[in-house]
């Protein structure tokens, strides 16, 4: 057995310079903390920068930015109400179309799908989220809009006689709120479906088994035992999809027609806040114009922030409820 010097620890400590370890720990903590703090710093910087730039417009124009429909650059009027209207309506249309489909697909994937089909179908649905917005827009311009103009809109207007209703009235050239709503629906679908799928899978077996033991059919079990349990999570998923739709820029700009008018008809072209910014920002002529565009951006920031915050809270509260 090798003999050990009595003060092996002191000798070791001097040679090892274990202060290095303490320094290393400190440096590591500082670096990781700085990296982490960059995130809140970024969010705050974005909020401050945009609101500061938007302030002159808010100060001069006040609420007319969101209530007035008069967007007149030369005259100094910047009413973005049509854009606000368009953002909300296109997203609403998207959700109306996408939500039922997304939830039913999620039910299919979590409940009824044969196991060999589950992965491929889930993968394909998720892949929808990977397609860039501009590619959706391209497809929208050259495939969807002609389809709408030549088949779908005449069908709705004439064959179904919906042309008499305000919702489907007016000329149908193609670029329209309906086109934007459809594309946004496709883009929001994977987000709603992914969350719904996760939430449905998280419903405990005991819930399902209890329903089946009481004699429910499989569909009734889903309807009465599983979905109510997962409800707030599903709503969270819907809000997540809403958040995506509200902020979408490129695809919408390419198919909505970019006409700053408020119309009741889905066939009419429209405008969204994101499109407004995208179209005019690079050529903003004067400071007030720029500031007004920043104000539109600030409004969009606030709206999506609120929607996403509610979405997160809903989805988190479901997972925390489960943990309890």
């Amino acid at each position: 057995m090798t003999a050990l010097p009595a003060q092996w620890l002191e000798k070791d400590r001097r040679k090892l310079r274990v202060e290095e370890a303490a320094i290393g720990d400190r440096v590591y903590e500082i670096i990781t903390a700085v990296c982490a703090l960059i995130i809140p710093a970024l969010v705050v910087a974005i909020a401050v920068a945009i609101f500061a730039a938007a302030w002159p417009a808010f100060a001069k124009l006040g609420l007319s930015i969101v209530t007035s429909s008069n967007w007149d650059v030369a005259g100094g009027h910047f009413g973005a109400a049509p854009a606000l209207f368009g953002t909300l309506v296109s997203s609403a249309v998207a959700l109306i179309i996408a939500t039922p489909l997304a939830i039913v697909v999620a039910i299919f994937l979590s409940e009824f799908s044969p196991s060999w089909l589950r992965q491929p179908v889930g993968f394909l649905v998720d892949l929808l989220a990977a397609i860039p917005s501009v590619v959706y827009g391209l497809w929208g311009i050259f495939v969807l809009i002609p389809l709408l103009r030549e088949q779908v809109m005449p069908f709705l207007r004439d064959t179904l006689h919906l042309g008499a209703t305000p919702l489907f009235s007016g000329p149908a050239y193609g670029p329209s709120m309906l086109a934007a709503g459809l594309i946004l629906a496709i883009m929001a679908l994977p987000y709603i479906s992914a969350v719904a799928r996760e939430v449905l899978l998280a419903v405990p077996r005991s819930q399902r088994e209890a329903a089946l033991a009481l004699g429910a059919t499989r569909w009734e079990m889903i309807r009465d035992a599983v979905i109510p349990y997962a409800r707030s999570g599903i709503i969270g998923g819907i809000m997540l999809g809403l958040g995506r739709a509200l902020g979408e820029t490129m695809a919408v700009t390419m198919v909505i027609g970019n006409r700053p008018e408020i119309s009741a008809s889905l066939f009419a072209p429209g405008y969204t806040m994101a499109s407004l910014i995208a179209n005019e920002f690079s050529e903003a002529t004067n400071d007030l114009h720029l500031s007004a565009l920043m104000a539109v951006g600030a409004s969009l920031f606030v709206i999506t922030l609120l929607v996403n915050a509610v979405a997160r809270w809903l989805v988190w509260s479901v997972s925390r409820g489960r943990a309890k």
């Binding site: 003999a3 009595a6 620890l9």
Partner: protein, 287 residues
């Protein structure tokens, strides 16, 4: 079969000028050899306010295998972890009392836990090879942090080979040192962890229920190599298996609810225990 390893004799220790006041006279090589390996005095270990180890004072001898036995939750693992300052890695954990290893206090002003851990090896209940490293680099993992202060022992490959021999694993892996450690079986992985702990030539090695998750054949191999390790290393082994303690240890400590009940030579403890609680435990009345 284990090859007997050539133990390199160091030059006799230069008596270093102590920077810390030492009350005992300067030790000679002979008295060092006879000194206990680990000495704990009134050692208590807490998780927050709960004491898992209470006032344990014992002396663990060198070049021997010492077993710590007791029922689940008696604090034997916690006690073991106090010997290499691993207990304090848990939040809100603290230690009272003192522990000396080979004459040096390991808890004290300015002593670094990292320095302590580099001189004490530990093997855990479940094998924990580093998954992204090869077998060779797993064994050498402890060497990397010794840096310049480690004694010059020659190239890494020799050290790795020696450690694998001592862990009774060399023959099984000598042709695949560069393969991933995860390709080994559970028993082999545990012996790999033992080799990893031995590679830094620690004076003490702590084993925390090392065969608890192994099959009987692997358990036997590990027990055999532990038995032979006493020639070169002091071993402290925590085990819930009394027969194992009886098979391989020289001295055994019995812990109950954090207190040291009895500490004697293994033969004495198992054939003529002095405390009735010890007798109850070893005859299987509880545990």
């Amino acid at each position: 079969m284990l090859q007997s390893t050539e133990v390199v004799r160091e030059k006799p220790a230069r008596l270093a000028t102590p920077t810390v006041q030492v009350r005992s006279p300067e030790p000679t090589a002979a008295s060092l050899a006879a000194a206990p390996c680990i000495v704990s005095r009134k050692l208590s270990a807490f998780f927050g306010d709960v004491a898992a180890v209470r006032n344990v004072s014992l002396e663990i001898p060198q070049q021997a295998v010492t077993a710590i036995i007791g029922p689940s939750g008696c604090g034997k693992s916690t006690l073991l972890r106090c010997f290499n300052r691993m207990h304090e890695t848990v939040p809100r954990a603290r230690v009272e009392g003192s522990v000396e290893i080979l004459g040096s206090a390991i808890y004290g002003e300015g002593t670094s836990p990292i320095a302590v851990r580099r001189h004490v090896g530990m093997v855990f209940q479940r094998p924990t090879p580093f998954p992204t490293m090869s077998i060779r680099n797993n064994v050498a993992a402890g060497l990397r942090v010794l840096g310049k202060s480690g004694e010059k022992r020659g190239p890494t490959d020799e050290i790795v080979e020696e450690a694998l021999h001592r862990a009774a694993l060399w023959d099984e892996v000598k042709d695949r040192l560069n393969e991933s450690a995860m390709a080994l079986s559970g028993g082999q992985q545990q012996r790999l962890c033992i080799a990893r702990a031995l590679a830094t030539r620690p004076r003490v090695i702590l084993l925390d229920e090392p065969t608890a998750s192994l099959d009987p054949l692997s358990t036997q191999k590990v027990e055999e190599l532990v038995y032979h390790l006493r020639e070169t290393v002091s071993v402290v082994i925590v085990t819930h298996n009394m027969q194992q303690a009886a098979r391989i240890s020289d001295r055994t400590a019995f812990l109950l609810a954090g207190e040291l009940i009895e500490f004697a030579s293994t033969t004495d403890l198992f054939t003529a225990p002095r405390d009735p609680r010890t007798e109850s435990y070893i005859t299987g009345r509880f545990g």
